[in-house]
Assembly symmetry: none
Homo-oligomer: 250 residues x 2
């Protein structure tokens, strides 16, 4: 049973406590599914300078050297496709997801000569936190194990979750607790309301709102309204959906 396989391998991946463990578990998983290679990349910091935080793979070193040496990651079509897809995708479907330039097509051909031919990539994102992908790859002489792609989807997701945990994004433990009223005020502040506007919304006085916000700042040791909002967001006290989409139900 394939799903049993996923449960077994997934358990092994989720119980990994180090990058080496994860490498081991991923290698076994890839083999069991009929893939020769795998590559997991997890970035904390999608913006500019914060580079790749985790990169675990068993690509041939010849290809890895070329890839890193020529900084191909900067314009890797697989990576670009991963940023635009919710589901895992087969590499031969990439052109339907994004435009692929001639240069990038040439890159595919080169990788094939290094034993990286066809594959399946599982993307996963958390806005503001993580962008990651996990690829399972076959060489030029092996067929893509189509019957295993759904399993790969699960295993890839487990691997990414495991890597995130290992990379240090354990749920924060001793987070400050805000009172309900404080949280209300933080939420409305995150929605861009001023203290005065919040006071009208909540039906309390301007000074009371100011007090709530002040005390919330104190609890988070944040000296700025923005910092308070960011910490609350980071802690999961409020969410992007809370902030951006409250209009819908209003």
């Amino acid at each position: 049973m394939r799903i049993k396989l996923a449960e077994d391998l997934g358990g092994g991946i989720l119980s990994a406590t180090s990058a080496d463990d994860l490498h081991e578990a991923l290698l076994r998983s890839a083999r069991e599914m009929g893939f020769g290679h795998f590559a997991l990349s997890l970035e904390i910091g999608s913006g500019g300078d914060a580079g790749t935080s985790v990169l675990i793979h068993n690509y041939p070193s010849s290809w890895a050297d070329v890839y890193v040496g020529f900084n191909l990651g900067a314009s890797d079509p697989i990576r670009r496709a991963a940023e635009r897809s919710l589901l895992g995708f087969r590499w031969d479907d990439v052109p339907t997801l994004i435009p692929v330039s001639d240069l990038e097509q040439a890159m595919f051909d080169t990788s094939r000569r290094h034993g990286i031919a066809d594959g399946y990539t599982v993307p996963r994102h958390l806005p503001g936190e993580v962008t990651a992908s996990c690829s399972f790859v076959t060489g030029p002489l092996t067929e893509l194990p189509v019957s295993m792609l759904l399993i790969a989807e699960l295993i890839g997701a487990f691997a990414i979750a495991g890597a995130r945990r290992i990379a240090g994004w354990a749920p924060s433990s001793d987070r400050p607790k805000l009172t309900d009223r404080q949280r209300d005020c933080v939420l409305w502040a995150a929605r861009g309301k001023s203290d005065w506007e919040i006071s009208r919304i909540l039906g309390i006085s301007h000074d009371t709102v100011t007090t709530h916000v002040k005390e919330a700042r104190d609890r988070y040791d944040a000296h700025k309204r923005s910092s308070l909002i960011l910490w609350a967001l980071f802690d999961g006290l409020i969410s992007f959906a809370d902030i951006f989409r409250w209009r819908e139900n209003a």
Copy 2:
């Protein structure tokens, strides 16, 4: 075979061409897996306030009325947890993901009286494009079908992808582009620095920083520094790691 079930149901979901089709396919899938209810919510759009949203569910109307009527969606803990998780999660694990207030706990109890007791929620995100979740729910008299959770993970993801396709797939995000200097300023602002402090850090004048921040606000159509930061964060222009981790290296 459970994985066969996933393939069958997944095919049905991916071939849906309308919201009604999708409703039908999801209903069948939920039943096959042993769930009584399902709810799929998907929101598209990043910049400003434009955006479509899809909500497909078969919750009892009594509960849906309460939910919408009291605007509970504005701070739904399930939705908040969905923004903090890469994988699907069981509802009884939510307190380990995010803080849950007493009020929200009470909300759980209320929903249970409406036949919404336990569930499994699959989140999926594309920064700046899509935020979605798909929940499968059991009533108070039914056990959560634990053996089906991995299948639910796959079905939920398919459903989200299907909904995205139906909702009109707006990949060409017209998200605002900031200049390098503007991004610098936004990043330092997110780190809690005032304009004057940023000017010292970047070695430029106070007024120049103010101008950069001002123009960044204009591009995001954000009237508050906080809103600007939040949009930049949601868009992936900056990340929590950028914001909170800079101390480490400094």
